[in-house]
């Protein structure tokens, strides 16, 4: 706990005096109403003729709510706290939209969507600024194209589905396919400050998850030292639907604070399927007309206005960025369902995880064929672009020939070679969890497989090759390694040197 400043009596009086001189003591005009009905987390109140949509209201007994529906004679208010509200109780407007008090003091903390601490430590926001939860996204003119990589440290993603700072990349797949694992690895990898780029502030937003899961994720982030630059905004499945609905809005408001200070921010929304479910629940209780799958008509707008706030600001406007990784859970690999198709059309690409691949041992279980990054090579380093070009094609060719692999002895040389190459590429793209790699290590490992160097190397020994490759190159070819760390393209001489160095390592391991 920080040591509190010790005031002398004189200093204390001066402090009070300066605060008082800035206080507005004009007579207050408030708009009041009376609670007519309470049920399912929604309160109907009459009066409140001057209440605005999205305005925060305060009840007599201290509860807080948010106006979400304005009818002729009544307002519908969703409750934001557990304090009991009774019929006949007075409610008054506050004149404020729902906001969160943000400052650097939030870094390293676990908070709920109303910015209350959940990590059993007192939360004191010094020099905080109020950021509204709902806000219009930055205009077209204030933005600049995405051209700076956000390294995930995952070879399959950084080579074939590269993500840039300011991009929205969807992670989509069935339950237990490694969606959260990809997000966590990306957060953990930001500790490296790869390519000499500035630190990325990470915000993990848990929406409707089990508390045990949230605790496990926080423990992992703490263990890996990621909480030094991360914030966790958590709403569990036992929280009211209103609180779950607000969670991603709070995470985005916090991200905007750092973005406006010229920093790069990564926000993970885990997951938006539960967010859509919470919003559906609120809308049905508010008696809004139900559309497809009982979702309200503005379910698309809910996610589009949220994700549109992810932006790469122009240098004139600070140069900061918000990159978002929304997560969607599909049922039975159906990416043509309502919510998945909505979010796919909003985002700048998707990483599609398949349960078949996961179960067969390909982890991360990324389907390179259906995954795409619409930013693509613009967010890749020149070095990575140099070697990642043929990867997708090789994988696609391997998959189409994989059925024939069991007939190994009956295949022609070219086909067998393709299958051997494909197996090695798949083996190299496999990566254990919580072990994100730097730029140089990714380059070396992918190059080893895609160049054909490992075509005659046993597949089961590839993990041990990968373990040693990076350190070996760093020891034997320091200049090459340094160039790779910066993301530079290697010339023919450099490529030859690298090839020879890796051949030496291969020889020693064979």
């Amino acid at each position: 706990m920080a040591k509190q400043k010790q005031f002398t009596a004189e200093e204390f009086l001066k402090e009070i005096e300066s605060k008082l001189s800035h206080v507005d003591t004009d007579n207050t005009v408030s708009n009041v109403g009376t609670v007519v009905s309470v049920g399912d987390g929604v309160v109907r109140a009459n009066g409140l003729s001057r209440a605005g949509f999205g305005e925060e209201v305060e009840f007599e007994e201290g509860a807080h709510g948010l106006v979400l529906s304005l009818d002729e004679d009544t307002c519908s208010i969703i409750l934001l706290s557990d304090v009991l509200v009774n019929v006949g109780e007075r409610v008054k407007t506050t004149g404020k939209v729902l906001s969160v008090n943000v400052s650097e003091d939030l870094i390293g903390r676990v908070i709920d969507p109303l910015a209350n601490a959940l990590d059993a430590k007192p939360l004191k926001i010094k020099d905080g600024k109020l950021y509204p939860l709902e806000r219009i996204a930055a205009g077209v003119v204030t933005r600049q194209p995405v051209d700076t990589p956000l390294k995930t440290g995952i070879k399959a993603i950084d080579s074939m589905i590269p993500i840039g700072r300011g991009q929205r990349e969807l992670i989509i797949g069935d339950r237990n396919t490694g969606k959260t694992a990809i997000a966590l690895d990306t957060i953990i990898n930001q500790k490296k400050k790869d390519l000499g780029l500035r630190q990325v502030i990470c915000i993990y937003c848990a929406i409707g998850q089990k508390r045990g899961n949230i605790a496990r994720i926080v423990a992992i982030l703490e263990e890996k030292g990621a909480m030094d630059y991360s914030i966790v905004v958590a709403s569990s499945s036992s929280d009211p639907a209103a609180v779950q609905f607000l969670a991603p809005l709070t995470a985005t408001a916090i991200a905007e604070y750092f973005m406006e200070r010229g920093q790069d921010v990564l926000v993970v929304y885990d997951d938006l399927s539960k967010h859509a479910t919470a919003y559906r629940q609120i809308s049905l209780i508010l008696r809004r007309p139900a559309g497809r799958e009982a979702y309200p008509g503005d379910i698309f707008y809910l996610h589009s206005r949220l994700l549109e706030r992810s932006v790469r600001m122009s240098d004139k406007h600070g140069g900061g960025s918000i990159t978002s990784l929304p997560i969607i859970e599909t049922q039975a690999n159906d990416i043509s369902a309502y919510i998945p198709t909505n979010v796919i059309s909003i985002t700048d690409g998707q990483i599609y995880l398949e349960s078949d691949l996961f179960n067969s041992g390909t982890r991360p279980a990324i389907n390179a064929g259906t995954s795409v990054s619409r930013v693509g090579g613009a967010a890749q380093t020149r070095g990575m672009k140099q070697i990642s070009g043929p990867l997708r094609l090789e994988l696609a060719q391997f998959r189409s020939l994989a059925a024939f692999a069991q007939f190994g002895s009956d295949l022609d040389t070219a086909t067998q070679k393709q299958i051997d190459r494909g197996k090695r590429v798949v083996a190299v793209l496999n990566q254990p969890q919580f072990q994100p790699l730097g730029e140089a290590a990714e380059f070396i490992n992918i190059y080893s497989a895609s160049s054909g160097l490992l075509d005659d190397f046993p597949v089961d020994k590839i993990p041990s090759f990968e373990e040693k490759a990076s350190d070996f190159v760093r020891a034997k070819s320091k200049n090459i390694y340094s160039d790779l760390e910066k993301g530079n393209k290697l010339d023919d001489k450099g490529m030859n040197e690298l090839k020879n160095t890796l051949a030496l390592l291969k020889k020693s391991l064979t």
Binding site: D24, V32, S49, K92
Partner: protein, 116 residues
């Protein structure tokens, strides 16, 4: 009867008054939910026609008349409450104007607490 019809009926009852006989016949004709709605509308209409004043000191007749003219209301309800310290709290329908010393003090304390 629709909600709009009940609103108009409530307005007529408040403005013109209604005899006991007619009121009894009316309530027999209406369903229970309509009766409830009509009573709510009558309450709202009565509320619209008056202002409530809570004052720390006694309010004289002239001041009361001035307030009625200012807010353009027919009726005024005055309650004395010395706890306010000084000043008035006026409620006009669903708007409250807090011009009391107590209200100002509470606001000042809240603002200073927030600022500190």
């Amino acid at each position: 009867m629709t909600k709009a019809d009940l609103k108009i009926l409530a307005l007529i009852i408040v403005q013109s008054g209604i005899s006991k006989k007619i009121a009894k016949r009316l309530f027999i004709k209406l369903k229970k939910s309509e009766q409830k709605m009509l009573l709510e509308q009558i309450k709202l209409e009565i509320q619209k026609n008056k202002i409530s004043v809570i004052s720390a000191q006694k309010v004289d007749i002239a001041t009361g008349k001035k307030l009625k003219e200012l807010f353009k209301k027919e009726k005024i309800e005055i309650v004395e409450n010395k706890d306010l310290g000084a000043g008035l709290i006026i409620q006009d329908n669903d708007t409250i104007y807090d011009m009391s010393f107590k209200g100002n003090l509470i606001n000042t304390l809240n603002a200073v607490t927030e600022a500190l």
